[in-house]
């Protein structure tokens, strides 16, 4: 592939040198570029988006090809091989990514090696330095200043263009349940949803319908967000992220930083696991050790800052960190479940557990009931939980459908009370016409991005990237492709993530004239065919 492209480029250059008079011979044509995107069937939005970009870029005088690719192949090409000019992909807005650590890390030069999260290869030492500084900064205000500064720093370089944030549009049956609050990036199927829902109909069990199901419900093997969305309902964590995404004490009653690398956690008293055994500080320490000893890589990034965990009192656990970590409470403590030591201690190879042998004993607000693969999952409300008085439902049932169409029919006929996943665009108006259904739209802090390969011409030139960004009609993408249900992107920290988002950033509005001016200023011009040369 690369070979062919080089040959083509040089033969064009050669031909140009022959035809053009000596004065213009110094000008080299800008090499053609290829945009990788998803196939139309996988995601029509990213597919069409690529063509909107192609159209405007060709108008600027660039030779652009759009290559749609099967999704996994695309991921492989982009992340593992880094063999691309420019690629359209996305990051989903998982709740732990509301902490700026993850998304800011996608521009860290130390993540530019193959397989890591910065395939574009942005390399800015000043940015890296600030990245380390914010990761260590415990003072949340001071950390915010650094995070804002980082966004200001990278934006003019546009190593990546955040195309848009797509709204998550979900619906629930208002004749069955009320007090249904959607959470950014999570929709209605958040960890709070089931705890807040109040029945108004006959059924007191909340029924969720979704086309996705867990890969498995083994807390040491699940590698999908759908596994954890379910498991977090029956496992407690030390800290939970509030609907406003602030860490609130949960199984912990106190989290104190003794110094930069020593965090002392006080465990709530009187908690029990669903099998009646008490939740002890030893269980917490065991869980962290168990995860760190296992080869379960899904939590690796959460556990990275932890050096050791000790029980330092009846209900006290002390975490020793390898280096200061600002995201320790928001990410690490809020994501690692508390497992019962007496159940797991003897399991040597937890990743190889077959589905029937997987323990489901947690201490959470709900108790695991059953999981029939491809069909059904259910949990019942835990009357002994410290939060039990606040919970109005008797349990939660999750009905698994083959596709979004099945889910919508079930919602329409009252078989389920809410959708776990976004509706198809065609279903939204139908839901809006149905008086029994309430449609909820929440902005996403995940994003679809256009990543330049900064190692390749012509994207190694910042002026070129700036001009090309101005030539992306992102407003049109939102209006036409998302039917207005979304927001044009700015920085990698989404506007909905108000606390961390820097609102005073260069916006790169769609402006072809400004794009041309930017190019001219950088010494680009156009040949007689209107193609860009430099």
């Amino acid at each position: 592939m690369t070979m062919t492209r080089m040959t083509t480029t040089s033969s064009i250059a050669f031909a140009a040198a022959l035809v053009l008079p000596a004065a213009a011979a110094a000008q080299e044509p800008v090499p053609p570029v290829e945009i990788y995107t998803t196939t139309e069937s996988y995601d029509p939005i990213r597919y069409e988006g690529a063509f909107i970009i192609q159209e405007a870029w060709e108008e600027l005088g660039l030779d652009v090809t759009v290559t749609p690719m099967e999704f996994s192949t695309l991921l492989d090409r982009f992340y593992s091989e880094q063999d691309f000019d420019a690629t359209i992909l996305g990051w989903s807005g998982r709740v732990d990514r509301l902490d700026p650590q993850f998304f800011l890390g996608t521009l860290d030069s130390r993540q530019a090696e193959p397989g890591a999260n910065n395939p574009g290869g942005y390399d800015n030492p000043e940015y890296d330095e600030l990245f380390d500084a914010q990761a260590r900064e415990f003072d949340i205000e001071a950390r915010r200043d650094i995070v804002h500064e980082m966004q200001e720093l990278y934006m003019p370089d546009v190593p990546v263009v955040v195309l848009f944030h797509r709204d998550e549009v979900v619906a629930y049956n208002n004749t069955a349940f009320t007090n249904m609050n959607a959470m950014a990036g999570e929709g209605l199927y958040s960890e709070w949803g089931a705890m807040e829902a109040e029945p108004v109909g006959d059924r007191t069990t909340l029924r969720i319908g979704g086309p996705q199901e867990p890969d498995n419900i083994n807390p040491l093997n699940s590698t999908s967000v759908w596994g954890w969305k379910w498991m977090r309902l029956y496992y407690d964590r030390l800290v939970r992220l509030s609907p406003e995404v602030e860490p609130v004490d949960w199984a912990a009653t106190d989290v104190t930083a003794e110094d930069d690398t020593t965090i002392v956690v006080t465990l709530r008293e009187g908690m029990t696991f669903h099998d009646g055994e008490p939740v002890r500080a030893e269980d917490v320490a065991f869980t962290f050790d168990y995860y760190m000893d296992s080869s379960y890589s899904y939590f690796d990034s959460y556990l990275e800052p932890v050096d050791s965990v000790e029980v330092t009192g009846d209900h006290e656990i002390t975490f020793n960190l390898t280096e200061p970590s600002a995201s320790f409470a928001t990410i690490t403590l809020s994501q690692i479940p508390i497992l019962p030591e007496h159940v797991w201690a003897d399991i040597e190879d937890p990743q190889e557990l077959s589905p029937d042998d997987i323990p489901t004993v947690g201490s959470g607000p709900f108790v695991f009931d059953r999981y029939d693969r491809g069909e059904f999952m259910s949990i019942t409300t835990n009357p002994d939980h410290f939060q039990a008085d606040e919970i109005a439902v008797d349990g939660v049932e999750f009905l698994i459908y083959a596709d979004a169409e099945g889910v919508f029919t079930a919602l329409d006929t009252g078989e389920v009370d809410m959708t776990a996943w976004r509706m198809e665009p065609g279903q939204i108006p139908l839901a809006e016409d149905n008086d029994d259904l309430t449609v909820v739209s929440v902005p996403d802090f995940g994003y679809f991005h256009f990543t330049f390969n900064l190692r390749r011409e012509p994207f190694d030139d910042v002026a070129m990237r700036r001009a090309l960004t101005m030539a992306m009609d992102r407003e049109r993408m939102v209006n036409v492709l998302l039917e207005g249900r979304g927001e044009v992107g700015t920085s990698v920290i989404a506007p909905v993530n108000e606390y961390w988002h820097n609102p005073f950033l260069e916006r790169f509005e769609f402006d072809m004239e400004a794009a041309r001016a930017e190019l001219e200023e950088a010494g680009y011009s156009w040949d007689e065919d209107g193609m860009l040369v430099r």
């Binding site: 996994s72 993540q111 397989g115 077959s354």
Partner: protein, 325 residues
Amino acid sequence: MSRRNYLIRRVIQAIFSLWVIATILFFLFRLGLPDPTAALITEGLNAEQRAAVRAQFGLEDPLWRQYLLYLWNAVQGDFGLSFANRAPVASVVWERLANTMVLMIPAIVLAYVIGVPLGAWLSWKRGTGTDTGGIALGLMFRSAPPFWTGMIVILVLGVWLSAFPTSGMRTLPYDADGFLDKIFTLDFLHHLILPALVVALFYLGSPLLIMRNTMLEVYGEDFIEMARAKGLPERRILYNHAARNALLPVVTQLAVTIGLAAGGQVAVEGVFSWPGLGREIFRAVGTSDFPLAQASFLVLAAFIITLNLLVDILYTALDPRVTFQ
């Protein structure tokens, strides 16, 4: 050649075919499908962490070793563990296959029970409006995509009339001691009707048209002339003499249909959220779950090979002129 030698030869052939298919499947998936851990990138796993997952799946070993291990285990009936949930794939495949067959067999039987006599009857009425109408109807259902028919049926009978459930095999949740306990219930029958109807309508066209056309050929035969000359009633000529002789191609078609049915009508299983093998295969291929995909396709192949063998044997019973030569 004796019947016994013939059978032994056919069985050896079948085993050889299975080995070839197993080999093709193994390499096809590993070389053709994307890395099963590619999707983990979007979960934020780096190259090293993904390599650990690959090692867990046994994919870091040299390919030839994976292949030999796979063959050795397969001979012992062990098809490995699903990448997704570490379930033994053999049990997953059997359970899903049973779910699929319990939908497909009644539907196909229904299609043939209606289609064969209807085809015979249409041939009798050849050239009339009834014939034209019947052919048109059969062709229409045969060409209409089942997911579309399914959606219409769901909308009318499921949503508007609320007469039938629109998804799944049973009202959820349900408890069942094994497969038979699951299906010998009214609730299951209630769930079966809509998808089975859609599948039956789709399959109806084949026996109908094949029967009709073969019948027309048979009518030209001398023995029909003979039967008429004997003064037998038309009805008896039609069903006892002509139809029996026209059955051969229909039986072949039935065997092929049942063989392919093991893979399920993915579209129907999707529209009705039926937990069948088709949906499982779709998921397995989509997530590069090699062990599950291999086992599923291998079972399908075994199914088709076995049915073909059975049909060849059945032929000798249906038509004594067919011999083992």
